[in-house]
Amino acid sequence: MSVGLVVVSHSAQLAAGVVELAAQMAPDVSLFPAGGMDDGGLGTSLEKVMTALGLADTGNGAVVLTDLGSAVMTAESALEFLGNPENMRLADAPLVEGAVAAAVAAQSGACLDVVCKAAETALNPVRGAADGAPVAGSEESDGKVAAVLTLINPMGLHARPAAALAGQLGAMDVDIEINGVDGQSVMMLMTLGAAQGTELVVSATGPDAQQAVDLVRAEVEAGFGEL
């Protein structure tokens, strides 16, 4: 089971369209639209949002994405009505990009925090400052674990492996950068456009740093299971 998503829009068609788009990249994720009024007109409905939240949360929580102004207020109100449960989040994210990024992260099994973060960083993936000197091999200095790995699978680091990596790394207590971007963000990994033969400079700190780098190494060397 994955984190579920609710798409709140003033328009029923827009909400349904965003769900359709996101579902294409996340076939196993519970995605529910909450668009328009009960009578089909433009607006947002608390009942629709609450119903969608109930359906989307299959045990691992749900992230809510919204379009404009009062959709945000209606989503906040729905969460307040439910007692602001810890396993439900309102993402401060652009609707389309955020929904797609969150859906891909959820599909990869990422936890609630990571799915929400994927949505919120969808539009502006902030690149890290780690494009500097790569560290050869795998060694520890100042608690940093690093590795340089070469992509061997024909498709490189495309959406599915990016989501798999970000999802698994997202569950770890680690700060990890891959070619200068946040390894826990699926959208940022995808922005690398890393093709077959690309070198990945991996650098991690934190309690799970070694485990995280080992995971990336194992996935890359296995060609993300695509060989």
């Binding site: 009024m37 009960d38 007109g41 433009l42 607006g43 947002t44 409905s45 608390l46 009942e47 629709k48 102004g69 009062s70 207020m73 209606t74 906040e76 109100s77 729905a78 307040e80 009505f81």
Partner: protein, 216 residues
Amino acid sequence: MANNAALDAAWAIDWLRRSAAVVAENRVHLIELDRAIGDADHGENLDRGFSAILEKLDAELPATPGAAFKLAAMTLMSKVGGAAGPLYGTAYLRAATAVGDAASLDSATLATALAAARDGVVARGKAAVGDKTMIDAWTPAVDAAASAAADGAGPAVVLDAAATAAEAGAVSTDPLVAHKGRASYLGERAIGHRDPGAVSSAMILRAAAQAAEASS
């Protein structure tokens, strides 16, 4: 003294019915106010929301004031559609939380509930006094209610003071430039127009006072 009678579920239900009536009567007036500085839907949206409340009250009468407020909150948030839905809905929801399961409300509880309602609108809409919004009616109303309750006034007097302050607060929005909502796009062109949300807030608080007067 009859005027000091605490207000019960029957008052809360009467308040909602009177609110629905005054909103329906002023539907066109609110639409016109909103057309000047917004998107002309405030009257229609509120009327739809309060009409839906009437339908729910016809089906089942809430047993406590808190239950009536919660019914109003849920219905307005579901049926209004525009920003007024979650704003008024949150006001009623916070009021419901503030009064809990109490069978009747005394002056102090009423003042507390009004403050909680106002705080909910602020939390949801992020507006302050002077932004040309509902808050310009609500905050003077809350202050007047607290002051009247502290002076030992009965519930009907507390609500009358709140409504009177809200009406003055609505008038005070005339010369303001809007800082929230669609009216904020108009800049100085909003000057000279009364904020429809502040007007409807004053109407609804007046309905609360009239219901209290009728029940005492």
